[in-house]
């Protein structure tokens, strides 16, 4: 399989807003280091998940890859084309091939736009087809995402349909330009539990039919385990562990991954939890701890961990970990 997405040493720093007085008295600019040097590749046809707690940088990563946010440093490749610095005009051509689905279908759809119009809108932007052809395509896509009969849904407004149906509309809108790559940012987090599997199933079916590649961003590890091929675990702007689903979930090497996995509730009253209690809280991404970012909370931390920052290293063919003393 060839690489569809390649990210090298990607960084995104957001400047911290200061008040007027602070600007006068301090010269030091502070930055939130949302992503601080991450590298990974996503192969064509793969579902690659980014997991981690809020503030770890997973959403920023997804948006930076699509250049919805401009990177501070590093390189992004899409099919061997470096897109880090290409002009917006050329980027727009490529955007047809990379789309995004957001978490909140209530916020991502224009409440005053009919569903059908929202779905065909990307075709207008990219100048594809004439008016009739666009409508035809939109109806076809609505049917494909399970909103049938499509003629009925075409003229409805977002508030007239359920949350699950709304997320289907968002998926149809992303799919209508036949992209190769989709960033799905928490696509099922706001969907009712009894319907989540139906959205995941739809995404899998579309993947098969259109040979899609997904970057799946989620805080829900059970969902990540269910859907992904490979997983990267992020902590404070860094990837701490990356590997196949099997490697990461059954043989976690990083103490953070282990703690994270052990905190997920298991829907079985007979299951005896082996939970690992972490001390403290996630530190601020403005001044991340020196050395390993996880060392102040790590139950296995040694002296080296507070001095040297570990780099992401191979432990076996597909399994990477950033830890001086992997488990």
């Amino acid at each position: 399989m060839d690489d569809l997405i390649k990210v090298i040493n990607l960084k995104k720093y957001f400047p911290v807003e200061k008040s007027f007085l602070e600007k006068i008295f301090t010269r030091v600019r502070q930055y939130v280091k949302a992503i601080d040097g991450i590298s990974f590749t996503i192969k064509r046809g793969e579902i690659f998940s980014l997991v981690g707690e809020s503030g770890c940088g997973k959403t920023t990563t997804g948006r930076t890859i699509l250049r919805l946010i401009e990177p501070t440093e590093g390189k992004i490749f899409f099919e061997n084309i470096e897109i880090t610095n290409i002009k917006i005009k050329e980027l727009r051509k490529l955007r047809k091939r990379m789309q995004i689905i957001f978490q909140d279908p209530y916020a991502s759809l224009n409440p005053r736009m009919k569903i059908g119009e929202a779905v065909l809108h990307p075709l207008e932007i990219h100048g594809i087809g004439n008016k009739n052809e666009r409508k035809e395509k939109a109806l076809e896509m609505l049917e494909k995402v399970g909103l049938s009969p499509p003629e009925d849904f075409f003229n409805l407004y977002p508030h007239q349909i359920s949350g699950g149906q709304r997320q289907r509309v968002a998926i149809a809108r992303a799919m209508i330009v036949h992209p190769d790559f989709i960033v799905a940012d928490e696509p099922v987090s706001m969907i009712d539990v009894s319907l989540r599997a139906s959205i995941l199933e739809l995404m899998m079916n579309l993947k098969k039919e259109f040979n899609l590649t997904y970057l799946f961003i989620t805080h829900d590890l059970a969902v990540a385990k269910y859907i992904s091929d490979r997983i990267a675990v992020m902590y404070l702007g860094k990837i701490v562990e990356m590997g196949t689903k099997k490697d990461v979930f059954s043989k976690p090497k990083h103490p953070y991954t282990l703690a994270l996995l052990s905190s997920v509730p298991v829907p079985n009253p007979m299951y005896k939890s082996d939970r690992i209690i972490l001390r403290g809280e996630v530190p601020s991404p403005i001044n991340p701890p020196k050395g390993c970012r996880f060392h102040p909370r790590c139950p296995y931390a040694k002296e080296k961990c507070s001095k040297e920052e570990p780099i992401l290293m191979k432990t076996n063919e597909k399994h990477y970990v950033a830890c001086h003393f992997p488990l």
Binding site: Q165, A222, S263, P267, Y271, I277
Partner: protein, 318 residues
Amino acid sequence: MEKILSIEKLKTYYQTLSGTIKAVDNVTLHVCKGEFLGIVGESGSGKSTLGLSILKLVPPPGRIIDGKIILNGINIIELNEKEMQKIRGKKIGMIFQDPMTSLNPLQKVGEQLIETLIVHEKISKKEAKEKAESLFEKVGIPKERFNDYPHQLSGGMRQRVMIAIAISLNPDIIIADEPTTALDVIVQAHILDLLKNLMETYNLSIILITHDLSIVLERCHKVAVMYAGNIVEYTDIYKIYEKPLHPYTIGLLQSIPNIKLDEQKINFIPGNPPDLINLPKGCRFFPRCIKRMEKCKEINPELIEIDKEHFVRCFLYE
């Protein structure tokens, strides 16, 4: 076990311009001393309205139409607002999803707790401060956080402040409405551990309202599954896990991924939850049920005890 709270045939409706929303309809359940009850349901199932009804805090146009809420032998539905104020906090503590909206953003968190203690317990400021400090310690908030404002604390710490306030007046019951939904999974585990410890230390009863069946199966003693304003199944967590009876419960159990399983197929329940204004005439789950019968279309079954302490609202088991 001693029953602390019994709810009998409770009905809480919202009268809106477009019709009556039957958010809680004929709900019957009870909580014993030291019991951890989970109320599980999806959005619009009426679980939050049920929690607010127990505190008599249902916002207008919502109103308790009928039924009884018996707390330590007293039907609190008959109490007036002034009498209720003595129940809230003192007998029933509460924790909500978003502590940022329940805490005063302009007041130091320690002072908010001191204020609660002074108002309710009629003690001196010095005593209140000592008590507040010991409460903070009990819920795991470091001393130096006492003078912080809510925005300076993390979500998990804010929720700990809420828990400290909720237990400060030694209530018998705590109602926790989605207390960990806004929190990350590690913090969630900490908060749930804390609740469990407090429950065991003080012999508290806790009603946990959540959409997450995994948490309930992992932590609670009993569970009530709600669907469209009704309780459809009500029993202990072992029975619901090993022998779920209601088709909705079965569907829900099959739709949650389990991180401990390697090969798993998760399913979904086709269709959407009903509109609470235009409820189906018969069983509310009828349009989505795979085991529906002719009868279910016309009549909504009653919640009946079909096995010891196992209640279900379904004609399949009559």
